[in-house]
């Protein structure tokens, strides 16, 4: 899935800065825009979503293929084609990650974004949702507001989530997950490249380092959510593939 935040220099040619004059006549079908990405196997999430999404999907750490950096993602699908979003009402925000809800918008930062200037809103003109549905600037519908709100939250959340991951790495809390799905009638599927937070290590450092207890407890809140979310792995067993 493309990231929610782009730098000018890495901008895809299909991304345009949203402009109420240039895009006056543009139409967007938000459900269609979301549907196009529902088949993604991994979708990045931010910390503020952990405690909602942990009940529905596994939250894992994965490495970005381009940079090797860890990101937090929902594990939604497998190579077999099975996907946890199959059959879900795509217009209902409750169980959807922000990164689907913000589509087809993304945030665009200036190349050096050192002055803390708010990002601009970009629109992916290649999204299947663009060119269909409602006129974007005619009545600024609830769907539009929800997408912008989701974009805003995910943009703010990235920084916080990155800091969380950095701390987890520094504290050596992230470990490789041993995950495999055993089917009755098919070969076992080994899921490689997934990482999680080691709860035992968290408990140990909380015990040992009283001075930084509050920091560790904050980390623990999200770590336990991540750990809890792994119970959703078993849902894959019941999905058709």
């Amino acid at each position: 899935m493309s990231t929610a935040c782009k730098k000018y220099k890495t901008m895809n040619a299909n991304i345009e800065i949203l402009d109420d004059i240039k895009h006056r006549t543009i139409t967007v079908d938000f459900d269609k825009a979301r549907s196009a990405s529902r088949k993604e196997n991994l979708i990045p999430v931010v910390l503020s979503e952990f405690h909602t999404l942990m009940f529905h999907y596994p939250i894992v750490f994965v490495k970005d293929r381009e940079t090797g950096e860890f990101t937090c993602s929902l594990l939604l699908g497998l190579a077999t084609g099975a996907n946890l979003l199959d059959g879900l009402d795509i217009s209902n925000d409750e169980q959807l990650p922000l990164n689907l809800r913000r589509l087809p918008f993304c945030a665009i930062e200036s190349p050096d974004n050192t002055d803390g200037t708010a990002p601009l809103i970009g629109i992916n003109m290649a999204s299947p949702g663009v060119g269909h549905g409602e006129f974007l600037f005619e009545n600024k519908s609830e769907s539009f507001d929800r997408a912008i709100a989701a974009l805003s939250e995910v943009y703010r959340g990235y920084k916080e989530t990155r800091a969380f991951i950095k701390t987890a790495i520094e504290l050596d809390l992230i470990g490789k997950l041993k995950a495999e799905i055993q089917y009755k009638d098919k070969p076992t599927l080994i899921l490689d490249g997934l990482y999680g937070i080691d709860e035992n290590k968290i408990a140990r450092i909380i015990e040992q380092d009283n001075e930084r207890k509050n920091l560790f407890l904050t980390i623990a809140r999200y770590a336990y959510a991540q750990s809890f979310s792994l119970y959703n792995m078993k849902k894959f067993v019941y999905l058709p593939s």
């Binding site: 490495k63 970005d64 940079t67 090797g68 860890f70 790495i169 050596d172 992230i174 490789k176 490249g193």
Partner: protein, 516 residues
């Protein structure tokens, strides 16, 4: 006399000194919890020799064991990945003459005899070399690919690898780590001499400012000067130039045409010349290139011209450095309360990057065996000298192998190198045996062997040395062909997975590697 060994002094702040001090601090103090103070003293006036920009995969374990981040190491030492060596013009000096000594062990594809037979007799073997038949690494190197990608954790790889590095930057980098993280006591002063201790051992180091630095045990890493092993103990140096003729080098540091885009070879390129060979090592910002030669057969100016011919116009304005050395080693490395490591122990041409490797294995040996009491030093002295004499002899033998089985006879250097008189009797004996029986893993059962059976095979078969083979059945040949075919399939997957060497190095500079 202080019977306990509680203070160890390393003399010399080059690569050898800091690696030794770092390994000892990590193993003895940090890992074993031993009560041992480690001091490294280095001269403010004497610079580093800076030999050996090539390493062995063992350096990964060494760096990791010292708690060093691979990302930081790569960023600060201009380091790149090395997956082996490509030897050009060593066999018959033709345009097509090259072979590889990769760092991967051969794949398990069956008996060596079957493979040798297949390579010599099967039409299917057309286009395969020994190395390409049993290992994917040559093909990966030829494509300029890295041994891992950006998501591979630090110190791990899809393929085995070592590094090319800037030794001067490496010394600075490892020094900072040793001082700041491993708490090694650092003294900057010149050594004026030594005082005599009990029974001829070193009592203390006399420093240029009139003070003394006393330790219980000393590691001489003072380079060719051999401040302790030579100046205090007067241990003779065994000259091996009758076997390894090269005794000089001329080197240049050559920037890339374009530091953003020029490819970085992921292997050392060693090109044989009329009276020596040229190393070509790709770092991130430059290439380190040098001509190692024998002064008996070639003058310094001719050697420099040979280097200029190899590098081309890019070398016109660059300063060159001439180095003289005597190939060989000390008669003994450990005497009483002192052991020599690095150049103080000996030096041979960097044909198989054995310099830093020997430092590492010496340091590990000392870390493992350094006794708590001085009364136990004599046993260590005897054991260390026995093992390391064997190691030096076998390293020299292995380097000689690269020369003595060559088919080159185009210059006196090559004619003399292939003459039996210059070949150690032990090597001649092995070559005779392998002509009759073919090499076998049981010929290499000594745990002190630095170069294993597999390395010998890469050189022997790479250089088309004829070993005996016996007849092989069709079934065995078919099985072998299938395994080689499967390996080729894996290669396709590797090509899709691995980035170019420069691309990965650049990414590591930008994003870093993860620890897990």
């Amino acid at each position: 006399m202080n019977e306990q060994i509680k203070h160890l002094v390393v003399v010399g702040g080059g690569t050898a000194g800091w690696i030794t001090a770092g390994v000892l601090a990590a193993k003895c103090v940090k890992e074993q919890g031993r009560d041992l103070k480690i001091t490294l003293i280095e001269s403010p006036t004497i610079g580093n020799i800076g030999v050996g920009e090539g390493t062995w995969p063992s350096l990964r374990t060494t760096l990791q064991g010292m708690g060093i981040s691979e990302t930081e190491f790569i960023r600060k030492c201009d380091a790149t990945f090395k997956q082996g060596a490509r030897f050009n013009r060593w066999v018959d000096n033709s345009e097509q003459d090259f072979y590889y000594h990769p760092l991967m062990l051969p794949a398990n594809i069956g008996p060596l005899n079957t493979l040798a037979h297949w390579l010599n007799n099967s039409p299917e073997a057309e286009g395969f070399s020994y190395s390409t038949a049993i290992c994917n690494q040559e093909a990966v190197c030829e494509q300029g690919l890295a041994p891992k990608n950006i998501t591979t954790p630090e110190y791990e790889g899809f393929l085995n690898y070592a590094y090319h590095l800037d030794t001067n930057k490496f010394s600075v980098f490892i020094r900072e780590h040793c001082i700041n993280t491993l708490n090694i006591n650092h003294v900057v002063n010149d050594i004026a001499g030594t005082t005599m201790g009990t029974d001829g051992e070193i009592g203390a180091l006399r420093l240029a400012d009139g003070t003394e630095l006393a330790g219980d045990f000393y590691v001489d890493c003072s380079g060719f000067a051999g401040l302790l092993i030579d100046k205090h103990f007067h241990v003779p140096f065994i000259d091996k130039s009758d076997i390894l003729f090269c005794d000089s080098a001329v080197a240049v540091q050559c920037p890339y045409a374009d530091t953003q885009t020029s490819a970085i070879a992921s292997h050392t390129i060693s090109t044989a010349t009329g009276s020596g060979w040229i190393w070509d090592i790709g770092l991130r910002s430059r290439r380190g290139i040098g001509h190692v030669y024998s002064s008996k057969y070639l003058g310094a100016d001719e050697a420099e011209q040979g280097l200029r011919n190899y590098v081309g116009a890019a070398m016109d304005q660059l300063p060159v450095r001439h180095i003289k050395y005597t190939p060989g080693h000390r008669e003994k490395f450990w005497v009483k309360n002192c052991v020599a490591v690095g150049l103080a122990a000996g030096f041979v041409e960097p044909l198989e990057a054995s310099s830093i490797l020997l430092v590492e294995i010496s340091a590990y040996w000392i870390a493992e065996k350094l006794p708590h009491k001085k009364s136990e030093l004599a046993r260590c002295e005897q054991q260390f000298n026995q093992i390391f004499n064997y190691r030096w002899d076998t390293i020299i033998e292995f380097l000689k192998l690269h020369y003595c089985i060559s088919r080159r006879r185009d210059t006196p250097f090559w004619r003399d190198n292939t003459h039996p008189d210059s070949i150690p009797a032990t090597l001649l004996e092995k070559l005779d045996m392998w002509r009759e029986q073919g090499p076998s893993v049981v010929d290499f059962l000594n745990r002190a062997d630095v170069f294993p059976f597999e390395s010998y095979c890469y050189i022997l078969y790479g250089m088309k040395f004829n070993t005996a083979t016996h007849t092989v059945g069709d079934a065995a040949i078919k099985m072998l062909a299938r395994k080689i075919h499967n390996q080729q399939r894996n290669l396709t997957a590797l090509f899709q997975t691995l980035p170019k060497n420069r691309s990965l190095i650049d990414k590591i500079h930008e994003y870093g590697l993860q620890k897990i």
